[in-house]
Structures are given as C-alpha cells and as structure tokens.
C-alpha cells in the first residue's frame, strides 16, 4: 500500500530529473522545486519515520526495554516538540546533546546497549540506519513547531561559541571551512543552492529540513550524516559520530534558526 504511494512520485521524480538535465538554467531551479513538490505527496522518509517509531517503542537491548522513557529534554517519554529544542544541556550527562547523541545515551542507560558499535559504524550500515530512523521519528514529532534552542546556560553558550569557531575554521588541502560554501547568501555549488548558515534565514531553512530523504542517493540522512559528508567534501578527516564537533555545529545552526518552523522529515534532490 505504502509502496505505491512512494513509487509513483519516485517515477515522476526520475522523469523530472531527466528534464532538469536538458533544461535552461533559469528553468532548472523551477523544475527542482516541482520535483520536490511531487515528492512531498509521498516522501519516502515516512517509511523511516514509522520504522523509527517501531524501534522507539520495541523492547530491545540486554535490559529488554523500549526507549519510551527516554528524556529528550522535555521530561521522560515526551517526544512531541522535543527535537525543536535540541541541542540542549542535560544534567545527567553534564553535556550539551543533539537528538542523535541523546538517543545513544538512552540506548546505553535504559537498554544497556554498548553504543560504541553504533558510534563507529559507517553510514549506510544497519546500526546507523536504525539511528537515522529514530532521529527521523523524533524530528517528525516536531513538525510545524518553532525552533526554540536555549543559550541560557553557560555550557549551552559555550557550545554555540565553539560551533561558531568550528564554522569558520579553515584547514586541509583546500583551505576550506564551513563558511567557504555557507558564509554568504545566494551562492551555489553547481546548481545546488547553499544556505548561509550564520544567518537566521539560511540556518532557518537548513536546520528545519533535516533529517531528510535524499532522492539521488535513496537514503535517509540525519544531521550527523549531513555534517559528516560536508567535512568529507571539505577534505577534512572524519568527524566522530555524535562528538562535540558535530554538536557544536548543530548548536550554532539551531540557535541561529530560532523561531523557524521545523519541517521534518525533509526531502532533498
């Protein structure tokens, strides 16, 4: 049943994709927009959302309990609206955490899972697919909710500052920083529009659209995967999953996006 809903828009997307290749420059952006619209009727991300919900509610791990008692910041078991207020400081870990690192904490404490395997697994493996699905489910429960990330606590402000510094930090063979591509509004790589992530507008559109289903890759990506691939293209070493580097950058983006409405799960070319 679900498959038909997903496959039809995918066929439309493939056809539109061919059109894009031949299109005049000014028409191509419009075509991409149409293609996104066509996919919105049946975003394959819904599949991940429902499998994420199953993973959330199913007893698992050595302790054979579900994640339903996980505290995502709004109290144990509250998922609705939680993603829109992440990253945030958590007293029990004494850390600022994003959705994905917080899920790891809950898997460890509630379920007794050894999460090192999940941290070290490559993207595209079953371990990471599970985490992406759970993050997709959590983000979907904030759809339409305004981003409201706090910088009130010193550790939250510190994480934001570290993220800002990371955003402008140049290195590697190509001298790239995040800001090389995401520092100015209205720039593109090839035909891909680049959000200016230090601004409210750019961060607002970017932060609120991940996790997203990437049509070209046929994959569901959370923000952790998004950041990981940015660093790959930046010619940097690999960021460790759920490390402070990734959370600091998320804090920078999310706080810059404050007030924008979550539109997750998203859909990308």
């Amino acid at each position: 049943m679900r498959w038909r809903k997903i496959l039809v828009p995918l066929a439309v997307a493939t056809a539109l994709g061919a059109v894009v290749a031949r299109a005049e420059e000014d028409k191509s952006a419009q075509s991409i927009e149409q293609y996104r619209e066509a996919l919105k009727d049946g975003n394959p991300a819904e599949l991940y959302e429902s499998s994420g919900e199953e993973l959330w509610k199913k007893p698992a791990g050595p302790k054979n309990v579900s994640l339903e008692k996980c505290d995502l910041g709004l109290g144990a078991g509250v998922v609705k609206g939680a993603y829109a207020q992440l990253p945030r400081y958590f007293k029990d870990t004494d850390k600022v955490q994003d959705a994905e690192s917080r899920v790891l904490t809950c898997m460890s404490t509630l379920q007794g899972v050894d999460v090192a395997k999940y941290v070290n697994a490559s993207f595209g493996t079953p371990e990471k697919d599970d985490l992406n699905a759970i993050a997709t489910y959590i983000s979907g429960q904030s759809k339409g909710v305004p981003v409201k990330v706090s910088l009130a606590l010193p550790k939250e402000q510190q994480m934001y500052d570290l993220g800002k510094r990371m955003f402008y930090y140049q290195g590697g063979s190509h001298d790239f920083s995040c800001a090389t591509c995401h520092g100015e509004e209205g720039r593109r790589i090839r035909l891909q529009d680049l959000p200016a992530l230090a601004t409210k507008k750019g961060a607002g559109s970017a932060w609120t659209s991940w996790p997203a289903y990437r049509v070209s890759a046929g994959q569901m990506w959370g923000m952790q995967w998004r950041i990981n691939d940015c660093f790959r293209q930046q010619r940097f070493p690999e960021p460790v999953y759920a490390s402070d580097v990734t959370i600091a950058l998320s804090m920078f983006m999310a706080a810059n996006a404050n007030g924008a409405l979550m539109d997750t799960p998203g859909i990308k070319r």
Partner: protein
Amino acid sequence: MKKIASIVSALAFAAIAAGVQANAADGSSWGPGADDANFKAMLKSGFRAKGIATLDRLDQDATQAFCSDPDRANSKESAAQKAKIEADNMAAIKWPSDGKWLGDWKEGEKLAQSGRGLTSTDKAGDVNGGNCYNCHQLSPKEISYGTIGPSLTNYARIKGVDEEAMRYVWGHIYDSKAYNACSNMPRAGYKGILTEKQIKDLMALLLDPNSPVNQ
C-alpha cells in the same frame, strides 16, 4: 591631573576596544584566543583519520589561521598582517618551468568539470580535479555551474592574452591567496592539488582563443 586623566581615558578606551574584539556581533566570545583549550580538545576528540584524510589536515598554516576569524582578518588593524600573508604566498608561487603558459584546453575542460580528489573517500595517487565549475561559470555550454566565484566566461576576450594576463591567471590558480589572503579559492599549485601540466591545461581553457570559454 590632566595627564592622569588622559591616561585613564586611554586605558578605558583600550579596555573597550579589547572587549569589542573579544565579543562578536552576537555578543559571544568565540574566536581564536577565546576558550582555546576547549576548542583544541574538541578538535582532538572530534575527528579521526579516514583514508588519505589524516588528522594533520586540522593543523593550520599561517594563512588558514588568519582567515579563520573573518571579522578580525577584514579589520583595519590586520591590514599589515594581511599584506604579509599575501606577500608570503606570492613568494611561494612557482612559475612555469619551461616558460610556456598554455597547455591543452580540452584537457583543461575535463579538469574543470572534475571535482574529485583528496577527500577521505578518494585514493592516494588518484588524479585530482580542478573543481572549477563547482564555483565558476566557464564554457557557456555548461549550464551547471556554481556562483561562489565570479563568472570566467569570455575571460580572454575581456582581459586579453598578454604576458601580464598570463602571469595573473597562473598566479591565481597556483596560489590565489597571494592576491587576496582570504580568497575562497583553494591554492591549487601551492598545496599540490594540481600539477604544473594540469595548471597549463586550465590556463588554456581560460586563455586559448579556441577554448569554448572564449567562443
């Protein structure tokens, strides 16, 4: 009295100036010099080597360090340091060993199209691309071009092909930071991204009258 007052006011001014430097527009203290120990620790625990993308890529040279705080890099106080960074990059440029500027524009077009090379998923010894179309418009036939850099379409028709133009383009491809310390453009020659032959082929793409860029 007067002297003391002027010293006090100068000190107060200095304190305000220092405060302004430490606090960015959003009221946060974030740049180099602020919270260095935690930033270093974050880099150390936050990255791991993958393939050819080893951890030494996080070690900054003087140019990268200077440009990692754009507000400071663009400030009046940094003008002298900026000029020195540009001069150091200029001095590092190797000009063509045989005195010939132009290679094959057809090879140059292939290179300009290729964005490959030096990522954690590329292999050592792979041929690196120039990444040109990612940021620049070149041949008018290619509609998929980026806009981080300026359009270079019709470059030779606009800028000419004399010795000065050749030198200018070579220098920019080899080490763009010699002309603008914090240019977004990679230093293709200086950082060993492209070989001398590859740079000549890109030169031809821009400056050969038969290149599609100049049609």
